[in-house]
Each structure stands twice: as structure tokens, then as C-alpha cells.
């Protein structure tokens, strides 16, 4: 009898096309070169902390692959009609890893901690107060409607941390328990060896019945991408998220037991661009910036430099976002137009064909996104009479110092959208964010009050269609005025062993979201 049933189950599974059996248990080995400083995403953003952090800490909601919010720690939620309050109804019986119940007080504490310490101030900026009428209800009161709020309460951003551990008065940014966490998510920390590995064990008392499927996740930190890719190729590693090297992607594609997908990076939204210092004598003229944009062949960057694995970026919002506006001016390659614009701007070609020379900053360690693109731009811009001198920075902090002090003319840069434009897009364009010494602020010194007004309105618009329209207008103006020449999206891919791994993380947050449904064979 038992055998027959097993056969029936197997047959059903074959019919439904499930290649990997969804048996519980097992260990997933995940590899990354990103080394987290610590494991508390409430006070530390970034991929490195988010991958383990979202396993250890749950969030009120999570998002599926189509940008739909799903219940997680909150069973349900509702915005008030005027959009000035959000009520979260928390799951009953949920506990932290140390057995303490998760209450609305912890939710309030977490949001306040994030608001005060997290680098993305716009996430909970409009949250004025959090009421906790009972243990399972939290009401976030806003100073203005804030449509990005649910995203800010989702994976990688709005983690719920226990007040009885992190609320002891110590600075949360340097809290000793950030590396020895007590969390609320599907996995708990078993071992953290900085820069080496993180071992996460199944949380037996996880609030979602039947999850997580895995017994254990091992996150191995690699120092060298080539070694890491070879380890994936040889089967030492089961999953490799945030793979961006096109040769590495191509190599792993050839392995029949490995699946390589670009799903799961819609929220992080990474864009590679060429930034202008719009305060610079030459680049303050919009015509010069447009000329540079017209002189760049993005097809060449995407197809030749990135072997077709990246896609062209045409504006400030990543194509994976619901607010991406297709059909804005895309600066198709036009060298004549570029030359004409430069003539018009008062930079005639000299006897040697050179109109002016500028310096381009980049970080050679970003070989494909920055180094090869910068090396391509040099002869390419020469075609329209712009002599580019490349200035390599030895490492990230050297480059960051230079660019954040506005001591640059042109620079390569990679910036993430971080889910909602309010979090990752506005910061690059609004006049109020032109600051000295802060990297990934408005280091271009671009300022247009109309753009400011549009972005401000879009950030407060609850109606999705109206919001999209506002962002469309803003994107149009930004692209016309080119404070940045948008080049390409980063070709982030996730490689996984398809004979072993079931339910790979393909939601908008990819591996920066709970891996509770992932199985291994």
C-alpha cells in the first residue's frame, strides 16, 4: 500500500513537472564574495548583511516576483483611506529565537531603530508615531502619504528585531549582539566567522508552519571570484547569487547541471552609469552632456563588452521596476549630432581634432562594469573630439573620497535603486541632497526644482497609475538634462545546481529574502 502511494506521489510530481523532490532537510551551501560587517540589517544596509540578515530576521511583509506584497510576520495590513496610517495585524504566537513572543512593541522599536540608524532615511522618514493598541496590532502614523512604506517593511529593509536584546541603551550601530543575533526569521545563527563563513540552522519554532524546508544554510565567503566560480562549477557550492562577471556567467551556463537565471534582481535595481560633475566648467552646459550621451554606443557596451548579459539602461529607474518609463529619449548613437552639439556649445575641434580634454575616474577592480567601459569610452569619445584621460582609483575608499568631495569631472559609477524610487532614486537628483563627503548623494550637483517637485509629489502619491505618470515626467526631464549618461544594468545572475536545489529565490529581492521555501535533494 505504502509503495503504491509513493508511486502515486512520484507520478504526480512527474506530471506537475517538478524536477527536484521537495524532501525536507539538507544543507544549502551558498557562496558570495560579499563579507558582512555584522548581521543586523536594521542598522546596516547592503547585500552582504541582507543575505544572512533576511534569514535571521523576519519582516512584516514580503514581496513576490511581481511586486505584490505578501503576508509574512503581518497576517494582514490596511492603509487608512487618506493614506496617513498603516495598520499591521501581526501573526499570533510568533516568537524570537530565544522564545520571547514577537509583539507590536518590538515592531515599533524596530521601525524607530531603523529610522534613527539606517542609512536610507527616506524609508521611514514620514513615520511620525507608532501606536500599539494591543500586542498584535501596530499602527504607523504618517506625516504624509508614503506609498513606499510596504516595500520598506519588506525583506532586506524592514527587519523586526527584539527590543529586549537591542533596546538596552547601547548604540545599535555598534551593538555587540549584531554579530551574535537573536532574530525572528526562519533560520538562526549557529556560527559567524567574519570573512569566512556563516552557518545558519533551522528555526524549529518558525511562525510559518512547515517551514523552513532546509536544516541548514552555509554561506561561504570567497575572496576571489574566479575561485568561487570554479567551486560552483565543481559542485562544491549549491548556489551563487549576485554573479556579475559575464565570462563567469557564460562558463557556468555551459555546465549541464547548473541553471543560471537573471530573475531576482528587480528590487536591487543596479544601474551602471557615467556621471558628470555638472558644476564643472565644461559639463555645466547641458549640450555637452547630451553630446557625450549621443557619442556612446550602448549596444557595443551590452553586446561586445558584456556579451549580451547586461541590458541597456535608458533612465534613472531600473527596467525591472514598475515605475520604469519606456520610450523616453534614449540617446541612440549619433556622432554627427554629438559633434553639432559640441560646436553649438562653443567647443570647436582644434587642428588635432581635439575640442577639450577631461578626466574620467573609475575603479579598476570593477573590471567589466567600470574598467572595460572606461577603456572603451576613451577612444569612443575621441571620435567626437573629447580627449579622455583615465584616472584609476586603487580601491573603493580612494574613489569614494574623490567623488564625494566633488573633485571629479567624469566618473563611472554603479548605483542601486533599492526597490522603491523614494529609497534609491530620489537621492541622486534632488537639490537638497547635494552634500559634501557623502557618497551616492547628489554628487553630480544636479538641481532642477521642477524635478524636485515631481519626485516629491510621486513619493506621496498613493494612486499607482498617477504615481507612474509623475515618475514618467521626472524621468523625461532627467534624461533630457543628462546629469548622468545611463549605460547599462548590471548583469546580476543567480547560478544554482538544478539537480539539487528546488524553489530558488526568484522574488524581487532574490537571495536578499527568506530562503524558507528552498529545498535541497
Amino acid at each position: 500500500m505504502k509503495r503504491i502511494m509513493l508511486a502515486a506521489v512520484a507520478a504526480t510530481m512527474m506530471l506537475s513537472g517538478i524536477a527536484v523532490s521537495s524532501a525536507d532537510g539538507g544543507t544549502l551551501v551558498l557562496a558570495t564574495t560579499q563579507k558582512p560587517r555584522h548581521l543586523n540589517p536594521a542598522v546596516q544596509s547592503g547585500i552582504a548583511t541582507a543575505v544572512p540578515g533576511t534569514q535571521i530576521f523576519a519582516t512584516p511583509v514580503r514581496f513576490d516576483e511581481n511586486w505584490n506584497p505578501q503576508p509574512y510576520l503581518a497576517e494582514s495590513w490596511a492603509f487608512s483611506d487618506d493614506g496617513m496610517a498603516l495598520t499591521l495585524n501581526l501573526r499570533k504566537g510568533a516568537t524570537f529565537h530565544d522564545g520571547h513572543p514577537i509583539t507590536s512593541k518590538d515592531v515599533a522599536f524596530s521601525i524607530e531603530t531603523i529610522k534613527a540608524n539606517h542609512p536610507f532615511k527616506t524609508m521611514f522618514g514620514p513615520v511620525e508615531a507608532i501606536d500599539t493598541p494591543d500586542d498584535h496590532t501596530a499602527v504607523l502614523r504618517l506625516s504624509a502619504p508614503h506609498p513606499a512604506l510596504l516595500l520598506a517593511l519588506s525583506s532586506a529593509l524592514g527587519v523586526i528585531i527584539p527590543e529586549h536584546i537591542y533596546g538596552d541603551g547601547q548604540d545599535p550601530k555598534a551593538h555587540p549582539r549584531n554579530s551574535d543575533t537573536v532574530g525572528s526569521g526562519p533560520f538562526k545563527l549557529a556560527e559567524f566567522k567574519p570573512g569566512e563563513h556563516i552557518i545558519l540552522e533551522k528555526n524549529e519554532n518558525f511562525f510559518l508552519e512547515g517551514y523552513p524546508k532546509l536544516d541548514r544554510i552555509i554561506i561561504k565567503n570567497y575572496k576571489d571570484v574566479t575561485s568561487m566560480v570554479l567551486a560552483m562549477d565543481s559542485g562544491e557550492v549549491d548556489m551563487l547569487p549576485f554573479l556579475a562577471g559575464t565570462r563567469d556567467i557564460a562558463r557556468l551556463r555551459k555546465n549541464a547541471s547548473i541553471e543560471v537565471t537573471d530573475q531576482g534582481y528587480a528590487a536591487v535595481g543596479p544601474i551602471n552609469w557615467l556621471a558628470f560633475n555638472t558644476k564643472h566648467e565644461i559639463f555645466k552646459d547641458v549640450r555637452v552632456r547630451q553630446a557625450v550621451a549621443y557619442a556612446i554606443d550602448r549596444d557595443f557596451i551590452v553586446n561586445a563588452l558584456h556579451s549580451g548579459f547586461s541590458t541597456a539602461a535608458t533612465g534613472p529607474i531600473h527596467p525591472g521596476s514598475p515605475f520604469f518609463a519606456p520610450g523616453v529619449e534614449s540617446y541612440a548613437l549619433d556622432l554627427d549630432k554629438a559633434a553639432a552639439l559640441l560646436d553649438e556649445a562653443g567647443y570647436p575641434a582644434g587642428s588635432d581634432g581635439v575640442r577639450f580634454s577631461v578626466e574620467l575616474d573609475y575603479i579598476p577592480a570593477f573590471a567589466e562594469q567600470q574598467k572595460s567601459v572606461a577603456e572603451y569610452l576613451r577612444p569612443q569619445l575621441k571620435k567626437v573630439g573629447i580627449a579622455v584621460e583615465l584616472r584609476a582609483s586603487p580601491d573603493f575608499p580612494s574613489w569614494a573620497k574623490r567623488v564625494s568631495s566633488h573633485e571629479f569631472e567624469l566618473t563611472m559609477d554603479i548605483v542601486f535603486n533599492w526597490g522603491d524610487p523614494v529609497i534609491g532614486v530620489h537621492r541622486t537628483y534632488v537639490c537638497s541632497n547635494i552634500r559634501q563627503g557623502v557618497i551616492w548623494s547628489n554628487t553630480q550637483s544636479y538641481c532642477n526644482e521642477e524635478v524636485d517637485a515631481l519626485l516629491d509629489a510621486a513619493g506621496k502619491e498613493i494612486d499607482q497609475a498617477k504615481r507612474q505618470a509623475l515618475y514618467r515626467q521626472a524621468q523625461q526631464i532627467i534624461v533630457d538634462e543628462v546629469p548622468l549618461a545611463f549605460l547599462n544594468t548590471l548583469p546580476y545572475h543567480t547560478a544554482y545546481n538544478k539537480n539539487k536545489v528546488g524553489n530558488p529565490p526568484l522574488s524581487i529581492w532574490g537571495a536578499m529574502a527568506p530562503l524558507d521555501k528552498v529545498t535541497v535533494q
Binding site: P119, P176, I218, S234, D395, P397, I439
Partner: protein
């Protein structure tokens, strides 16, 4: 008496040397553009000016350079290497976590290089111009000329991917959760490729050195005397010739201990070996001053200790040095 004097003198040197290492590197690191707050902001995907100021205040980075240096040295002399800016953990903990892996790697490579190099050198010296000699010469030239990271990557492709015989990354297989003897075996298995990669350059050098030195010693009068008195050929080789011929190898091994540690940075990176080499490299990029200085403190100590050991080994091998004191 002379031995104690020797060690005492070396300790005095050591304190001065380590102070110099710390001051020099502290200054060099501060000359590099950008500070840990920039790195942390980069890691976080952006930050506000207020947050950057808070981070700088948290780690005392807002104080003048000399004040920071003074505070660091004062604490260091009391045995407190401080907290890592990057990991927010005590530097000593980070280092002690990584130190065993580096020591294991470097010493295995060193033993492999000296023993292997000596054996190959002696073999090559027996018949200069013969087949063995030519092969040793060829191999040592290739081994010496190939860059360490290239050798490592080639070995990974050959023995990790093409013929998957050795594990290619890490100190042990974390996923296996092995304990006891099987854990030791696992580590030994993981150790093969990295220690071979690191050792092969030095093995090449030492085999050449031993060969040249053996050839020279074999011409000397005392070897002729030994042979004349009817000593067995093996005794002549090992007792009379090798004992003298090995001195340059010991000298070089002692001198090169420092470069062996720096070579370990590359090998550790390629093989994902959780050692000090990669820790210092990562910490320089992260401008994590306390960790960099802590690692330099430990490796300077290691080099000084290695030089001391070299001297002692010298005294064991060469009685003339003992007699001179």
C-alpha cells in the same frame, strides 16, 4: 649564557622593530584617501552626512592624527589591539581565528620547500648534466618563474575541476560538519594544493641552491679525505657534504620567512584560505586600521621569531658558530 644574551638582544630589537612597523603603517594607512566611514557607507549602499559623522565619532576618527596614533600605541603596549572598525569585534579575536590557518599553511609550505628542495638538490648534484639533474633544473626553473596565483589557479583547474581529486577552497568542508580524525584528514586534504602552490617557488629555489652548494662542497678537501678514509658514499654525501651544503638553504629559509607570509596573501586569496594574509588585505581595502596593525604586529612577531629559530638551527648544524661565542 650566550644563548640567553642572544634571545634578550633579539627581544629588545623586536620591541623597537614592532614599534617602527606600527608607526610607519599607521601613518601610511592614514595617508591613503578615504577612511572607514567611507567604506562603511559604501558597504551600505549610501549614507547621510549625519550618519558618517556618527560613525567617525564612534571610532575616534574625528580626532587629530597624532592623538589617534598616541592612543593606539598606548593601548597596544598594554596588549590591547583595539576593536575592528569594520567587524566591530576585538582585533585579537579576529586574528586568533585566522592565525592557525596561516601558520599551518606557511609551515607546511616551508617544510615541503626545504625538505623537498634539499632532496631534489642532492639528487641533481649526484650526476651534474645527467637526466635527473636536467629534470630538476627544468622543474625548478618553471616552478620559480610561474607566478604564484597562476600556479594556484592552474592547479585548481587541473585537480579541482578536470580531475576532481582535491578540494579547491577553504580550510575544511564546513558542510561536512566533520569532527575528530576525519576533520584532521579533511584539513590535510584541503592543505595539499595551497601548500604545494606556496611551497613550489621556494622548493625550486632551494633545490638550485642545494645543487650548487653540493657540487661545490663535493670538490672540497674534507670530502676527499672522507672518501680516502673509506667512508661509505652515503655517509660522505649526507654527513660530510650535505651538512655543510645545507647552510645556505637554512639562511635563505630564515630570510625568506617574511616573503613566505606575503606570498601567503596570494595563495590564501586563490584557495579561499581563511588566514591572516587575506585578513590584512581586506582590512587595508576597508581602511580598518586596528586590524591591519594587529596583523602586522603578529606577522612581525612571527618573522622575528623565525629569525631567532634560524639562528638556533644554525648553531645546531654548524658547530663553528657555537665555538665562536
Amino acid at each position: 649564557m650566550s644563548l640567553i644574551w642572544l634571545i634578550g638582544k633579539r627581544l629588545l630589537y623586536a620591541v623597537a622593530l614592532i614599534t617602527a612597523v606600527l608607526v610607519l603603517n599607521f601613518s601610511l594607512l592614514h595617508l591613503a584617501p578615504g577612511d572607514p566611514a567611507d567604506v562603511i557607507a559604501g558597504e551600505m549602499g549610501g549614507a547621510t552626512a549625519e550618519l558618517l559623522a556618527e560613525i567617525r565619532a564612534l571610532y575616534g576618527l574625528d580626532k587629530p592624527f597624532l592623538v589617534q596614533l598616541g592612543m593606539y600605541l598606548q593601548r597596544a603596549y598594554q596588549g590591547d589591539l583595539g576593536m575592528s572598525f569594520y567587524y566591530n569585534l576585538p582585533v585579537v579575536d579576529l586574528i586568533l581565528q585566522r592565525l592557525p590557518a596561516t601558520i599551518l599553511l606557511v609551515f607546511t609550505a616551508l617544510i615541503f620547500a626545504t625538505v623537498g628542495g634539499t632532496v631534489l638538490g642532492v639528487l641533481a648534484a649526484r650526476k651534474p648534466g645527467g637526466f635527473t639533474s636536467s629534470m630538476v633544473t627544468l622543474l625548478s626553473l618553471v616552478g620559480y618563474a610561474a607566478p604564484i596565483f597562476w600556479t594556484g589557479l592552474m592547479l585548481i583547474i587541473l585537480f579541482g575541476v578536470v580531475i576532481p581529486f582535491f578540494p579547491i577552497s577553504g580550510l575544511y568542508n564546513v558542510a561536512k560538519m566533520a569532527t575528530g580524525l576525519s576533520w584532521v584528514v579533511d584539513i590535510a586534504h584541503h592543505l595539499v594544493l595551497p601548500s604545494f602552490t606556496l611551497g613550489v617557488v621556494y622548493l625550486a629555489l632551494y633545490s638550485r641552491l642545494t645543487r650548487a652548494s653540493m657540487l661545490e662542497v663535493m670538490q672540497t678537501d674534507y670530502v676527499r679525505t672522507a672518501r680516502a678514509k673509506g667512508a661509505h658514499e652515503r655517509t660522505v654525501y649526507l654527513r660530510h657534504a650535505l651538512r655543510n651544503a645545507i647552510l645556505p638553504v637554512v639562511t635563505m629559509a630564515g630570510l625568506q620567512f617574511g616573503s613566505l607570509i606575503s606570498g601567503a596573501v596570494l595563495v590564501e586569496t586563490v584557495f579561499n584560505w581563511p588566514g591572516l594574509g587575506t585578513l590584512v588585505f581586506e582590512s587595508v581595502i576597508a581602511r580598518d586600521y586596528p586590524t591591519v596593525l594587529g596583523v602586522l604586529f603578529f606577522s612581525a612577531t612571527l618573522v622575528i621569531a623565525a629569525n631567532l629559530v634560524t639562528d638556533l638551527v644554525y648553531r645546531m648544524i654548524d658547530p663553528r658558530i657555537r665555538l665562536r661565542d
